[in-house]
Symmetry: C2
Subunit: 154 residues, 2 copies
């Protein structure tokens, strides 16, 4: 179980140590989008089963989805917002607002909140208590939105 | 801890229940590629730190990377190989060999092997024993290759 501090520290460490790694900016943009996109798919599965009820609840699927969201949220995706990734590069488009790159400390805080909320969702998913999962899911959603509202362009 | 049987059953269940969900084939192809791409990034981090030694070993990063690989491997990515996703759709290209879609039972078995190997990698990563991590990483790599050799086009 990660504490908020550990998660924050983790994001910072990962960002610091890996952003300059041998990955070109295009690939960084594509990879961060891959991570967010795969998280979104897994959020969608939980939403369908626990919020909308459009798909029958399946404990194993919800648990696997929550684990995936938590793992990606804590995977150091911040490292993929390195120098040169603040604007489109050829066909590779980014929807990150340029202000994101000037507020990395705030972004790390928001990312830490997401990691913490996602860990809670994974814990609740493991219990199978749908009411608790619903609340934890909403909290994760809020942490997504908090960052999107500030730093994601439409 | 998942057993092989649970993992296999999981893949099958996920594939069966979600492949027909409200996601168009283009989006399925893009989302499965996102999952594999994000796994690959995380495999690369472990490789750099534990195999090549090109990046200094960092316990937290390796553990987070291994957790991400395990979570994605067990997330039911098989559900994204639904009907209509066996060939390119406009600009959305797939490198899945058409034979994959005629051998779903074999694919589920290979996916189950990946899930099991990835769970072991996550366990070993948590211990911090680099020699054990190295071996577990190699086993995950073999399960990737086993499927790529059969079902991934160059």
């Amino acid at each position: 179980m990660k504490t908020v501090m550990t998660t924050l520290l983790g994001s910072a460490l990962l960002a610091a140590s890996l952003s300059a790694a041998a990955m070109d900016p295009e690939k960084q943009i594509e990879t961060r989008q891959a991570g967010f996109s795969y998280m979104a798919w897994n959020m969608g599965k939980i939403k369908a089963q626990v919020i909308d009820g459009s798909v029958e609840y399946n404990q194993q699927q919800v648990e696997a989805a929550a684990n995936t969201i938590a793992a990606i949220a804590n995977s150091g995706i911040g490292a993929l917002f390195g120098p040169g990734t603040e604007k489109d590069i050829g066909d590779v488009r980014t929807s990150a607002d340029p202000s994101l790159f000037e507020n990395m400390q705030d972004v790390a805080q928001l990312a830490g909140n997401m990691g913490t909320a996602a860990n809670t969702l994974a814990e609740k998913a493991a219990t199978g208590d749908q009411s608790e999962i619903r609340m934890a899911f909403a909290e994760v959603g809020k942490t997504c939105k908090a960052c999107h509202d500030k730093y994601k362009m439409d």
